[in-house]
Symmetry: D2
Subunit: 277 residues, 4 copies
Amino acid sequence: MLAETAYGKSSVRLVKVSRHGDRHDLKDLTVAIRFEGDYDQSYTDGDNRDVLPTDTMKNTVYALAAGSSVEEPEAFGVVLARHFLDRNPRLRRVRIDLTEQPWGRIAIGTREHGQAFVRQGAESRSATLQGERDRITVGAGVRDLVILKSSHSAFAGFLRDEYTTLPDASDRILATAMTATWRYRTTDLDFNLTWHAVRNTMLEAFAEHDSQSVQHTLHVMGRAVLDSVDAVSAVRLVMPNKHHLPVDLSRLGLENRNEIFVPTDEPYGLIEATLTR
Amino acid sequence: MLAETAYGKSSVRLVKVSRHGDRHDLKDLTVAIRFEGDYDQSYTDGDNRDVLPTDTMKNTVYALAAGSSVEEPEAFGVVLARHFLDRNPRLRRVRIDLTEQPWGRIAIGTREHGQAFVRQGAESRSATLQGERDRITVGAGVRDLVILKSSHSAFAGFLRDEYTTLPDASDRILATAMTATWRYRTTDLDFNLTWHAVRNTMLEAFAEHDSQSVQHTLHVMGRAVLDSVDAVSAVRLVMPNKHHLPVDLSRLGLENRNEIFVPTDEPYGLIEATLTR
Amino acid sequence: MLAETAYGKSSVRLVKVSRHGDRHDLKDLTVAIRFEGDYDQSYTDGDNRDVLPTDTMKNTVYALAAGSSVEEPEAFGVVLARHFLDRNPRLRRVRIDLTEQPWGRIAIGTREHGQAFVRQGAESRSATLQGERDRITVGAGVRDLVILKSSHSAFAGFLRDEYTTLPDASDRILATAMTATWRYRTTDLDFNLTWHAVRNTMLEAFAEHDSQSVQHTLHVMGRAVLDSVDAVSAVRLVMPNKHHLPVDLSRLGLENRNEIFVPTDEPYGLIEATLTR
Amino acid sequence: MLAETAYGKSSVRLVKVSRHGDRHDLKDLTVAIRFEGDYDQSYTDGDNRDVLPTDTMKNTVYALAAGSSVEEPEAFGVVLARHFLDRNPRLRRVRIDLTEQPWGRIAIGTREHGQAFVRQGAESRSATLQGERDRITVGAGVRDLVILKSSHSAFAGFLRDEYTTLPDASDRILATAMTATWRYRTTDLDFNLTWHAVRNTMLEAFAEHDSQSVQHTLHVMGRAVLDSVDAVSAVRLVMPNKHHLPVDLSRLGLENRNEIFVPTDEPYGLIEATLTR
């Protein structure tokens, strides 16, 4: 028996330059398309008659990008989802994932240059569309938002067993490379404005809060989003704990006044949750 | 409302050397542990009293590795899962993921050296344990098994629309970096032997088969596993299509007799399915 | 015969938090140390008596970071270089490489938070110290500065042979992930201020210039640095050409008005040069 | 003043399938080309008239691969180097770097399949050609050969200062991801045979030797190559020390009988040397 079949195209790279006189806009997207539907015959019999090639999916991204705005990744995703649903009767569900690589303008003194750009941030913006016959669900997100608190972070009073060696920490560094995704109630929204509102809300909650654990911080950040941004119906946060271990300088005859840390990549804690209304 | 919460430790690196006189065995594993359970209070109130620190999970891996065999990743995973379920009443489900980095012995002429090793393969072996109060499910897999057919691979007769430019191909290169995962019916099995049987079955099916598409090949490989290895109850295959495009030499005044290809990383097709009995 | 020997420690990760009341400063560095000297006996005879362990080099980074400012990576590098030269008579030349991962402060409305930070940029800042008995040379740099011009970039009038298929381009996208390194005349300098001056100078030159090729742009950027920043005695630029290819939409029945591009990672052009006074 | 200029094309991906009836040969190479010569005008004046586009370099790889054997990367590199030197009078020195990704044949029982392949090894084979008007120098190498000794490895009796905390080790794990490069005396050689001879010689020396340090092992391996393989005139080895730290189980109430290790990626020691005759 065949189950959970899907096929599509990933890592379709697209840069669109929109020219408004001397001022150009630059949009840099990576698109993935995933079809679920009645395609079992292609698996079982090698019969391709109903299979839209993934190469055509790629071409479609470029064709529709030429005729549509890509200014809002979410809106461009809706255009793609509708196109595929309209043309492919065997398609039951289409998923469109878009990742935006952020660019800023190069500054010439206090002026922004209209046609020269510099990549910004290690983080990227994501949008996810789930399209079915009767509805399209829009989601957005941020990936690899690396944030750190040098104060107001503790982890203490936890469960101990015979293998527990971790001491209580009342003043530790908290750092994470957060990935957050959220779902919108509607497809009719100022997606760019709302995205920035969600991101800012999470950053402020992270900064202002007294953290008792990664779990605690995650909840405060997710709750702040639901409290502040009406358009969001649910938010999921995934927070790897990027441990910063205080260096034991006593072996070197010195004191570490909570100043010198070694950040480590492995192993790492991983904390996840979804908050819904 | 809080949903889909989980927390754990990832990328716990472990090398165990077992000494049998002059002949040592080397096992190189990366372990991830993931707890799901009644831990909402840690999120909502910052109350850690029921939270086993992820640092303790890491220590537990090393402690149990010292007292148990790690020769079979699946069996070591069962030991870990049982340990955590036994000690943590609030734990509803524990997931243990193990990845084995493969090593071979260095050859001295025709003899294998007992204490010197060389890393083998880009691929890695995986094992996944899902433990709940009343049962533990064991799965295994292979990640990034890179395989290529230079013959008996076609893709033709597919659906065409106004954006289709791909020509029919009767003799193309088929290549993928396959990830396969499968579930066992039982926890009582020769896991090492069975893993090799599944891997060989997939490789032989891939090599011997006349491919009409990636979907078609995926199905043949999955079916071969279910047909040949009784202990497997379901198998999932994820196959990125690592496109090898024939170079257009006609622009250089030359002919390409299906010999010269450029492998590309992006974009790539992505085909997935699960086969169950 | 033994030649070009060197040994040292790489990827020493260091985060230092300096506390000034409510306002913390965060510095995130990765340090590499490389010794060249009279250590042949350790290679030929396995005699370690003169070998300072690389583990001690790592400890030294943390010990000196506790007692010195790390606010300027270049100045901290001088401290490290002098320390090692003073204590190790067999050391002929020491090289210290420092990479700074940039962090900014999280904004709360228009106010900067004193103790919460967000990672900025994909680029990183580098510093390189070459220390010998009689002098220390200081260099600095920027790695992976990703920049793009959507106008004023051409590549035409080049050499053609029988394998040339590239058409002249009068208006193409120019993009690169530049790595620049430069040498200072002195160790007595405001390193942070000067680093920003060099970076800004390069960005402005890139933005304002009419590019005839990557080579041409590289030269203009390097020359601008030598013209504007007296303290720099030489600058080296390495510029991979991150090709953005216009998509051929004519096969899809559409016109590409120089708007739709596919960025590609491989193959890539690679252009390098050093400019000295 | 302009110095150390170079330009070229990197990451040119090439797969060639050679068909001998039912048995195909597969060669998977990545090629980089680097020109040094009298190209200053392209930098200073944006004058491209003498610049062979890097796109043409890429085309040339495919054109020459169609007409030449690529069975030996070194020999194919010589063909490329000669081609560029013959046609480009301003070219003073050309460097060709080739990296081979290794593939093996899929086994069907004890038979090798003629047209189905599986990627082998994390390591890759390299070849480097330095071509000038009057001569071409051929080199070869292996990259990321990951090897480990679980016995006969010590590090003791080293220099100590106030920051030394490392204890003497009489029986530690030694592991490295070695990169070795060597130069041949001649361009007239069975390159495939010789490459395997060098690799085997290094592996055997590594396995059989009593290591007092990474430096010591590096020297023994390099010396074995010069002693065993006449065609090699010099060999360079770069050996990152992939530390495997014994886990301190005493804090968990257990004893570590030199069995349980945590491999770490950072920081790492880095040891290098060249051996010449």
